[in-house]
């Protein structure tokens, strides 16, 4: 019985991230539009886009290989799995131990790996631009991310997200400088990873500035739909990661029952909304930076992560 419940909870989470992701994207767009004194498209617009894309035929470049066609599904699947391994409304779900934070980062890494390959597949220069810039950013973002993991894991004594989250609500966290640093670093990485302003502009189509868009330039129809969906799930993933690591309040744990789940769900949605608003505001107030400023941006994140770890030792030793 517990097993079935566990399965259900897990399945629910998978469904949740799948459904909530486009909504979040739509929400952020809406908020931005509002702040720009535009009406903007409806919050549900992303769903409509996805629907339409899926119905369309795929226009495939003549020399596209099988890899090009497989990649979208792969990316979607990997991102989906990764996203559903991050506690959203409840921690300690059935399979949450199947992959810890490091594994989740690596999963996102493999999604990026294949997307970058797809960018190179057709052999146009845009794909090349996109891929090469993407891997450059990733090669800094991933280590930064791992260095953020260190202080968290060391504080909580675990890399298991559920355990970390449970530890974070527990009283013996205290207020720690290193956690603050880690938070800032994580936000910076999240922005970079999701290609938001100031790193990249999700809504640009100016060749020289685009990164993510350049890679997927050749995609159309259902393939594009998969990728868009994956992208928005990634955004969701990072927001829920921030949520469960740094404000894990209201988070239910496995088997607490429907009521707790409901509380968790609402609180989760609340966090998402807050995160979305903040993101929108942030995107409005900063300007996009040159591609070769990005390394400095991420380098800063990396340093923050390392600093967090070192400070941690100091505070521990005190």
């Amino acid at each position: 019985m517990a097993l079935v419940a566990g399965f259900l909870a897990q399945a629910m989470q998978m469904a949740l991230v799948l459904i909530a992701a486009p909504l979040l994207t739509g929400f952020v767009r809406k908020v931005k539009a509002r702040l720009q004194r535009r009406r903007g498209p409806s919050v549900l617009q992303p769903y409509r886009d996805l629907y339409r894309l899926m119905r369309k035929e795929v226009v495939l470049a003549e020399n596209a290989s099988w890899l090009f066609r497989v990649t979208p599904y792969l990316i979607f699947a990997v991102t989906w799995v990764a996203a559903s391994l991050v506690p959203t409304f409840a921690s300690g779900l059935m399979f949450s131990w199947a992959a810890d934070l490091i594994a989740i980062i690596a999963l996102l890494g493999s999604a990026r790996f294949f997307l970058a390959l797809a960018g190179l597949d057709v052999g146009t220069s845009f794909g090349g631009i996109g891929s090469s810039r993407e891997v450059m950013i990733a090669s800094l973002a991933e280590p930064a991310m791992l260095l953020i993991v260190f202080p968290l894991a060391l504080v909580a004594g675990s890399t298991q997200l559920s355990n970390v989250a449970e530890f974070m609500v527990s009283p013996d966290v205290g207020l720690r400088v290193s956690l603050g640093l880690a938070l800032i670093a994580l936000i910076m990485v999240a922005i970079a990873e999701n290609g938001r302003i100031p790193i990249d502009n999700p809504s640009t189509h100016l060749e020289l500035t685009m990164i993510h868009e350049a890679m997927v330039l050749e995609y159309s129809g259902r393939h594009l739909a998969m990728i868009e969906l994956a992208a928005s799930m990634k955004l969701l993933l990072y927001l829920s990661l921030l949520a469960c690591l740094f404000l894990p309040w209201g988070l239910a744990t496995q088997g607490m029952g429907v009521a707790a789940y409901a509380v968790g769900l609402t609180s989760y949605l609340g966090k998402l909304a807050a995160g979305g608003v903040l993101l929108a505001v942030f995107e409005l107030v900063v300007a996009k930076m040159r591609v070769f400023r990005v390394p400095e941006f991420l380098g800063a994140a990396l340093m923050l992560g390392l600093l967090g770890t070192l400070l941690l030792f100091l505070s521990r030793s005190l």
Binding site: R55, K56, E57, V58, N63, W66, L67, Y73, L74, F76, A77, F95, W97, A98, A99, D100, I102, A106, L107, S110, F113, L117, G119, L120, V122, G123, T124, S125, F126, G128, S131, S132, R133, V135, M136, S139, L140, E142, P143, M145, L146, L147, F150, A153, L154, S158, T159, Q160, N163, E207, L217, G221, R222, M226, V291, F292, G305, L306, F313, R316
Partner: protein, 669 residues
């Protein structure tokens, strides 16, 4: 059943094959016969090694060879068995691959005799149980591989590579020789058994460890002793490159492990800091060098450097924990290192096989002349892709499993008492993460430029898929990469006897963890389940594909790629290896390679093409090796005058010697 005897019999077969090869190398069938023999022998030896894992009591054997009063001692214990398995797995797959690949060899007479000898040498090193036998086989291994590097000796670069290789190799051998000299003591107790009993003073301990780090490191390719590696490995025929990169470097790691964990009794914590530092630096520098390469095989060779760095990080951690008596963590770190040894031997062989296939199909190693091969050689490209994913540490493949374990070991560092280690280990972890990420970038480049995009040369356009043997070898290894990735628990348990015999501690048994997931320390700390991740991904991917194709459109139209308004863009407009690496070069290169970009833009009206070129400098080479060469050179020139003196002057020398000696007698006696 004496397993060690079986292994030695296999070695004898290999040597016999080598001798046979000398005789028959001219015939057509030669390569089939020789490689067949190698395949058989390695498989049997592999079987022997695996059987030994079942019953792990060491078996020894002494032959009346080598040092007369000592005899040649051979011993098969857990550690030896592990590396014997690695060696022969690589050997068997290389032989299988060569059954097809070897047919294309223009000069079989220069490859066939040395290939089995090379295999034999590596087997013997692993089995040797006394210093003399060990070093003899060690140097024999270098010699055989030198001959193989020399196989295409009419190419200038190969000769140069072979020269640098053998000099570095014997430099390393001399270092090991000195190390064993210290261990054996003045009256020459060269048997490992005797050495194990012996006790070293701290000074001796440090000396030995340093010398072994140099000796084994120069073969494994630790920075700054790596310079020969990217020259020599690509120069050899590809199946040999696979052996050198995938297996021989592991034999070097074996030497380090054998001495540092088995022969030496314990070490000091600051020593481990040195190892960690070198390991981290090697990992990061190796991958950065790799990113700058256009030559596919050289790129792979530099990645060997990187992975050796990762392995040494694991070993350094193990030393650090051992020095502080944190045995569980020691076992974890050591297991991580050994696991990575195994993994790297798998995917590095696989990748070199792929490179070899490309080489035979197109005759090209230069990535700038390749491209679009995924359409011409689908199977090769698939296997190569698996290899790329594995070496880039992407889950659920095996590369990730071992690097994940290494990270877990790093996360044990806060319990270390010493501040130096406390601060160093996370930094090394950062380097590890950096090199992992850069490796992914590098293999996007390697695969993308070589196999994707449009063909950049006629050779690439007309490439043909390679023969069945090569494909079998590649797919076999690819399968193993996946298996070891989704079922790491079994590998870890298989490594337990090794860590038990070396540090007397093992990782918790993984077999009885639920759902076949792996747990380094405790469930609560961290766990990972490759199988589940794999299943989830596969399931959800196929689920999505099914839903869409079932309920949404599956229409598809082929159309020209978006040309941005310039029809029929030439293939030159694609991104090249150089341009792909440009952003990363901008970020790291200016500091590490003193990278300088020169643009030669002709003035308006001038019809000559604009030129852009980058010059990179290898600082290690310039700072360390060129000066030495210069010193030797100038000394030689200066001393050379002694060849042209007059007889009177020579007599003067004699006279001087005489007077000096008499003075010595007169004054000091």
């Amino acid at each position: 059943m004496q397993l060690v005897a079986v292994a030695l019999a296999c070695v004898a077969v290999l040597l016999g094959a080598a001798v046979l090869a000398v005789a028959v190398s001219a015939r057509r069938v030669a390569s089939t016969v020789v490689y067949g023999a190698c395949l058989a022998a390695s498989s049997i030896a592999l079987a022997a090694a695996l059987v030994h894992f079942a019953g792990t009591s060491p078996v020894t054997l002494t032959l009346p060879l080598g040092l007369p009063w000592l005899g040649a001692h051979f011993r098969l214990d857990a550690l030896a068995a592990l590396f014997l398995a690695v060696v022969n797995l690589g050997g068997a797959s290389a032989s299988l691959y060569a059954l097809g690949y070897g047919k294309h060899e223009p000069l079989p007479g220069r490859v066939l005799p040395f290939f089995p000898a090379f295999l034999a040498g590596m087997n013997l090193v692993v089995l040797a149980d006394d210093a003399f036998t060990f070093l003899l086989c060690w140097e024999f291994m270098s010699l055989a591989s030198w001959a193989l590097v020399m196989a295409h000796h009419r190419v200038e670069d190969n000769v140069r590579a072979a020269f640098i290789y053998l000099v570095m190799a014997s430099f390393g051998t001399l270092a090991l020789l000195l190390a064993f000299g210290v261990l054996a003591g003045p009256d020459g107790a060269y048997g490992f058994a005797a050495i194990r009993e012996g006790v070293q003073t701290p000074l001796e301990n440090t000396l030995v460890l340093a010398l072994v780090l140099i000796g084994a490191g120069s073969k494994a390719g630790l920075v700054p002793l790596h310079v020969w590696l990217p020259l020599a490995h690509p120069a050899a025929p590809s199946h040999v490159s696979a052996l050198m990169s995938g297996v021989m470097t592991k034999v070097a790691v074996y030497a380090f492990v054998r001495v540092a964990f088995d022969l030496l009794d314990g070490s000091d914590w600051w020593q481990s800091m040195v190892v960690l530092f070198i390991g981290g630096g090697t990992a990061a520098l190796g991958v950065l060098y790799a990113l700058m390469q256009h030559d596919l095989k050289r790129l792979l060779a530099y990645h060997t450097v990187e992975n050796i760095g990762i392995i040494y990080i694991g070993l350094g951690l193990a030393l650090a924990f051992q020095a502080n008596g944190m045995m569980a963590a020691t076992a974890l770190a050591l297991t991580a290192a050994l696991f990575h040894v195994f993994n790297h031997s798998l995917f590095k062989s696989l990748l070199f096989f792929g490179a070899g296939a490309v080489l035979t199909a197109t005759g090209q190693r230069d990535m700038e002349a390749l491209g679009g091969l995924i359409r011409r050689m689908p199977y090769t490209s698939f296997a190569f892709l698996v290899g790329c994913a594995a070496i880039s540490a992407l889950p659920p493949l095996n590369g990730f499993a071992s690097e994940w374990l290494t990270f877990q070991a790093i996360l044990q560092s806060p319990d270390l008492p010493q501040w130096g280690l406390k601060f160093m280990v996370p930094a090394v972890g950062g380097l590890l993460a950096l090199s992992a990420a850069l490796a992914a970038a590098c293999f996007v480049k390697a695969f993308g430029i070589t196999f994707l995009g449009r063909p950049r040369s006629h050779a690439a356009e007309t490439a043909r898929e390679v023969d069945r043997f090569s494909l079998t070898a590649m797919f076999g290894l690819a399968g193993l990469c996946l298996l070891a990735g989704i079922l790491p628990g079994f590998v870890i348990d298989a490594l337990a006897p090794v860590t038990l015999s070396l540090v007397g501690e093992r990782m918790p048994a993984q077999a009885d963890v639920a759902w076949l997931s792996i747990v380094p320390i405790a469930e609560a700390r961290s766990s990972y389940n490759g199988l589940l991740v794999f299943v989830f991904v596969a399931f959800s991917a196929s689920f999505a594909a099914y839903i869409i194709h079932r309920f949404a459109s599956h229409a598809l139209r082929r159309a020209p790629a978006w040309d941005c308004g310039f029809p029929e863009p030439s293939v030159r407009t694609q991104y090249t290896a150089g341009s792909f690496a440009q952003p990363i070069r901008r970020v790291f290169g200016t500091l590490i390679f003193r990278a300088r970009e020169h643009v030669d833009m002709p003035p308006p009206g001038d019809s000559r093409p604009a030129r852009f070129h980058v010059d990179l400098r290898d600082l290690v080479w310039e700072v360390l090796y060129l000066p030495v060469a210069a010193i030797v050179n100038s000394t030689a020139t200066r001393l050379n005058h002694f060849q042209f003196l007059t007889i009177r002057r020579y007599l003067g020398l004699v006279f001087l010697a005489l007077v000096t000696l008499l003075l010595v007698l007169a004054i000091w006696l």
